[in-house]
Each structure stands twice: as structure tokens, then as C-alpha cells.
Amino acid sequence: MKRGLVLPLLLLLMVPVKAALSGEAVADATGREIRPAAKVERVYAAGPPASTVIFAIAPEKLVGWTRALRPHEAEFFPEKYAALPELGRLTGRGNTANVEVVLRARPDLIVDVGSTRASLAELAVQVERQTGIPYALFDGRLEATPATFRALGRLMGDVPRAEALAAWFEGELADIRARVERVPQEKRPRVYYGRGPAGLQTGGRGSINVEVLELLGAVNVAAEVRAGLVAVPIEQILLWNPEVILTTDPHFWRRAWTDPAWRATAAVENKRVYLSPHRPFGWFDFPPGANRLLGAWWAGKILYPDAFDIDLRRKVLEFHTRFYHQAPTPAQLDALLGEPGVLGK
């Protein structure tokens, strides 16, 4: 017990020493100059989207996950990284991290990737002051991900690896956009994204939850609704009569086929209700990080099969190798893509 207390106390004494930093100064997404230590060896991710980006650049530098990986997620990572400790999250909805635990992990840098709104920028400044550890905040939108990689690469002293990821990610986004451009407006089906076990929650225009749909230039039936996660009446959905339904909830995916109300939609009638894969991180919606690139390929293939004549298996293999540093086995690929609903009924 006593030993457990000594370490954080010692660390607190070390704070002024840590303040003498000499690394390259890099502006984060809020324009603040972040100046980390000359050599960044340990990075704390403030939320799940930050974990994926840091892990992709330099898995050995991630000090822990915000939430311990469950077995069905852990199998997609090299063993030594899958077993990294759970450190809690500083941002995102609800904060579960203990600042002492963060200190005890001795990070050289704290990184958050996601929203850059004022409250999170303030939190970054506050935690940086409190801990003496530089805290960088980056934009988590898919479009901003290459820039986030480049800035993080400079901060972490991993420019070549980060640049390779940034360039690859840029190429993927450009490829997706080029394919979307080939799809004429009248060939774009009306899509409804259903969340929750009853499928009655959705994301309105500009909501981070439907960023993948916006990247795909898809017709989100709920675009008229305000941004953010909202509940909609089923009658409204019947009025929109979506041609394709995408969901992240397996309960809803099963329910859609039997519930008479959902069966009245064109999507169910034409058997076009799809369930997004969710391992190790969600493909379509959450966590709202770079992991959603796979969701864009997946949804692109579902919505515009002609323009997206891609091999999804290859895409998954490529993404996993770059981001999770482990190529999935054929059996894992089968499990991911063969789950009922992922490629249709």
C-alpha cells in the first residue's frame, strides 16, 4: 500500500523536471504550440479514437488502452499490445481516467483525437498544467485524419511511419471520393442509419455518427434533422421510406426482418438491411476514429456496388496490417465478413 503511494508522489516531484522539454514544437488542431520531450517514448491516448491513431503510428509507444480489450477484440492485435493495461479515458462522453493513473503511466505526451470544441481545448490546457505533460488535441474527422497523422508523426518523432500512413490514408480517401463521383445522383439510394436495439435513433446532417455517409455522398433520409444523435418516430421513417438501412446493432438487424413496421420499408422488402462489423473497433460509427475508413469501403460497396467493385477482404487485410499491425487470419476474415447481416441477409 505504502509503495503504491510513493510512486505518484515521486512523479509529482518530477513534474518540474519534465517541464524542461526540448522537442520540436508542433501546433495542434486548436493552434496551440505543443512542445514535447526530445524523445517521445510513451504516449497516453485520452480517448479510443486517439488510441487507434497512436497505435497505427507506433504501437510500442501506446501506454495503454482507454478500456481493456475484450477477448473478441484482443484477437486482432499482436499479443503483447492486446494485453496493454486499461487506463481510462480523459475525454469522450464521461471521463473515467484518474490523473494519478495517467501520471503513473509516465507518458511523454497526451493525445486526444476527436472533437476540438472549446471545452476539450480547455481540458487539454488544464491537464497539461496539472501534470506538466504536453497535451495535444487533434481533429478526428476522416477528412482530417491525414493531417492528424502528420502532426502526430512530428510530435512523436515518427515522421516516416506517420507520413506513410498519412499518404496511404489520403490515397484511400481520394479513391473513395473518385468512386463516389462516378455514381450519378439518381443512382444513390436513400439511406437510413438506425442505432439502438429498436433502430429508432439516428444521426442528422453533419453529425459525426454519419460522417461515413457524408463521405460517400449518400442520401441520408435523416439529413433534415438537426445534427447529433436523435430519436425519430417510426412513422417518420416509414414516410422517408429508406431504400437501404445500415445499423450497428445486431438486435435491431434481427428485429427489422420480423417487425411489421420495418417490413413496410423498401429496404426490408428488397432485403437491403446491413449490419456494420464492430470488431476490434466499429466500422461505421463508433468510436469515431480512423477505424471508420473500413466502414466507408463497406458502405460504399453496399450502396454503390458497381462503382465499388473492390475486394473487401483485401481492404480489411490491408487496413488491419497497417493499423492493428497484425494481418487477420482467413478464419478471422470469414468471421468478420460472414457475420449475418454484414453483406446482407
Binding site: G196, A231, Q236, L238
Partner: protein, 335 residues
């Protein structure tokens, strides 16, 4: 015509009018002639020319939801009436012994474990019953106090404990997926009602209501001090168990399908009492009519006013508060 009789008539007429209106209103446009065509065709078993979507909307979506709103409103109001009579206190709501909190904990646990809608409802129902069972078991063992006071205090204390268990689960929940689902459940909504939900909630609510109706005269005696009631030959202890069990059953049945909906069970009985006085036998039917009408009005507004759902908890307070203040100002009867 007496105020009492007028109250029943007005409440019944309002409920009937609202129900007709609620059937006709919705985001999916269905005209009144179409509605009658459909209902006529269904009653006579003949064919109709309406789209199958229109039929689904009426029979599978709007119909069950309108009926569920009435059942939930009536059940919450009836439970509130029973408790307010038993505890001799107009500030008592159906949640006083922890039924809603217990149901919420059950539902939150099921969502936390990603068990799906059916299990969420089952957990909520069981959670509500278990919570009150626990409160009653503990509260009735606390000797040397006024039994009602002991019960209420135990309810408050255990309710707080369950509340912190809910808070803990929310804290541990996945912030992107489970937490929003929990928040939406706790806000309460009839949006996901299906005919099956109606078929499971209604019998449970009726099972709670029937004994209360049969015992309506005796329930009045619970308002008397215990020794006086006993002098009249009523076993107050046993009667109290029955009332608590019935009110709990009704509330749990409602909350399991609707989530937490406040206000109705607290202020509707009070409003009804302002109109017809405290006699349980007179009060119960009026409170149920008013509760059903009120819940129906709120839910209809919530599902039609915008292309998103407006949570009933928000509307109950928004509509209910001025209505209640108005009623309080015009009615002269007191507790």
C-alpha cells in the same frame, strides 16, 4: 349536474376525443376517410384499396402506441392514487417505494449487457418488483416506528442505493453505444411500442387494477389511523401489502415498456382529487381517465410535432405544470 359527474363526463369525452385525434395524427399522413375505410374493412373482413404501409402504420405502429399511451397513463395514475391514499400524502408518487428506480436499474443492466429489447423489458419489470419487494421486506421489519414512515424511509434509502448502481453502470458503459441507449431509455418513450408490448403490459396492469377496484372501499380506511381502521375490522397490514403489490405491478408493467415517465403518477391523482374529493372509489376511475388522456396528449404531441421524437418527460412537465396550476386555482376542494 354535480362537479363530480361533470368531471367524469368531461374526462371520458376528452379521452375519446383525444383517442380519435391521436389515431388521425402522425408523421405518416393518413386521412380520416382512409382511417374509416381501413377500420371498416378490418371489422367486416373485406378488402380495402389502401397501401399496405398505411395499414401497417395504423395497425402495427400508431394503434398500439395510442393504446399503450392510455394504458401507461391510466396505470401510473392508478398507482399514484393508491399510494397517495395509503400514505395519506399528496406528494407521493408511484416511485415512492423504488419501483421505477428498480425498473431502471434492471433495464440499464440489460442494456449494459447488450441483451436486446425483450430482455430489457423483462429486466425492467423484474427489477421494479424486486426493488419494492426488498423495500417492503426491510421496511416492515423496522419495528418501533410508524410503519408507513419506516416504509417510506426505506424506499428513499434503497432508491438512492439503486440510483447509485445506475450511475455506476452508466459510468462503466461504452460511451458511444451503450450510454446513449441508457440515456434514451431513462428519458422514457413509447416510440418502440409494438402490439406484443401492449399484449404483455395490459394484462399485468389489469391484474394490478382489479384487486384495487374490488377493495376500493377498504382502501379508504387506510387513510385512517391504524387503530381506528383496525377497530372497523380491517387488517391494515395485509391490506397495505395488497395495495403496494397492486400499485407496484401496475407501475412496473407500464415502466417496462415505456421507460421512466414522471409527473403523471404524482400530479394526475392530485388533480383528480381536486375535482371529486378523496374517496378512493370515486377517485380511481377519474384519475385513470385523466391519466390516460394526459399521457395520450403528451405522446401524440411528442410524436407529431417534429420529425424527431420529443421525450414525454419533457412534455409532461411543460404541459402539466400550467394545467395543474390552473386546476389548482379554479378547484376549491382540498385534500
Amino acid at each position: 349536474m354535480s362537479v363530480r359527474r361533470a368531471s367524469y363526463l368531461v374526462a371520458a369525452a376528452a379521452l375519446a376525443g383525444l383517442a380519435a385525434l391521436a389515431f388521425g395524427l402522425g408523421r405518416y399522413p393518413i386521412s380520416v376517410p382512409e382511417l374509416f375505410t381501413l377500420l371498416g374493412a378490418k371489422l367486416t373482413g373485406s378488402e380495402h384499396a389502401l397501401s399496405s404501409t398505411a395499414e401497417t402504420v395504423i395497425l402495427q405502429v400508431r394503434g398500439p402506441r395510442v393504446l399503450a399511451a392510455m394504458v401507461v397513463g391510466a396505470a401510473l395514475a392508478a398507482a399514484g392514487t393508491a399510494y397517495q391514499g395509503m400514505f395519506r400524502n399528496p406528494l407521493v408518487s408511484p416511485d415512492i417505494l423504488g419501483v421505477s428506480t428498480g425498473a431502471a436499474l434492471g433495464a440499464v443492466l440489460a442494456i449494459f449487457l447488450s441483451l436486446g429489447i425483450l430482455m430489457t423489458q423483462a429486466f425492467a419489470f423484474a427489477g421494479g418488483l424486486l426493488a419494492v419487494g426488498l423495500v417492503y421486506a426491510v421496511g416492515s421489519r423496522l419495528r418501533g416506528h410508524d410503519p408507513l414512515l419506516a416504509l417510506v424511509l426505506t424506499g428513499v434509502v434503497i432508491g438512492t442505493l439503486l440510483g447509485s448502481a445506475i450511475a455506476l453502470l452508466k459510468y462503466l458503459a461504452d460511451p458511444y453505444n451503450e450510454l446513449p441507449a441508457i440515456t434514451f431509455w431513462l428519458l422514457g418513450s413509447l416510440a418502440a411500442i409494438t402490439p406484443r408490448d401492449l399484449a404483455s403490459a395490459t394484462p399485468a396492469a389489469l391484474a394490478g387494477l382489479l384487486p384495487l377496484l374490488l377493495l376500493r372501499w377498504r382502501v379508504n380506511l387506510l387513510a385512517l389511523p391504524d387503530d381506528e381502521a383496525r377497530a372497523l375490522g380491517v387488517d391494515t397490514r395485509r391490506l397495505r401489502v395488497v395495495v403496494v403489490a397492486c400499485a407496484t405491478l401496475m407501475t412496473a408493467a407500464a415502466v417496462a415498456v415505456s421507460g421512466i415517465i414522471g409527473w403523471v403518477g404524482l400530479l394526475i391523482p392530485h388533480a383528480a382529487r381536486l375535482l371529486v374529493g378523496p374517496d378512493f372509489g370515486r377517485l380511481l376511475p377519474l384519475a385513470m381517465l385523466m391519466g390516460a388522456a394526459f399521457m395520450l396528449a403528451v405522446d401524440t404531441l411528442g410524436r407529431t410535432a417534429a420529425s424527431i421524437e420529443i421525450p414525454p418527460g419533457v412534455l409532461t412537465a411543460l404541459i402539466g405544470t400550467p394545467f395543474f396550476l390552473w386546476l389548482f386555482a379554479v378547484a376549491r376542494r382540498t385534500w
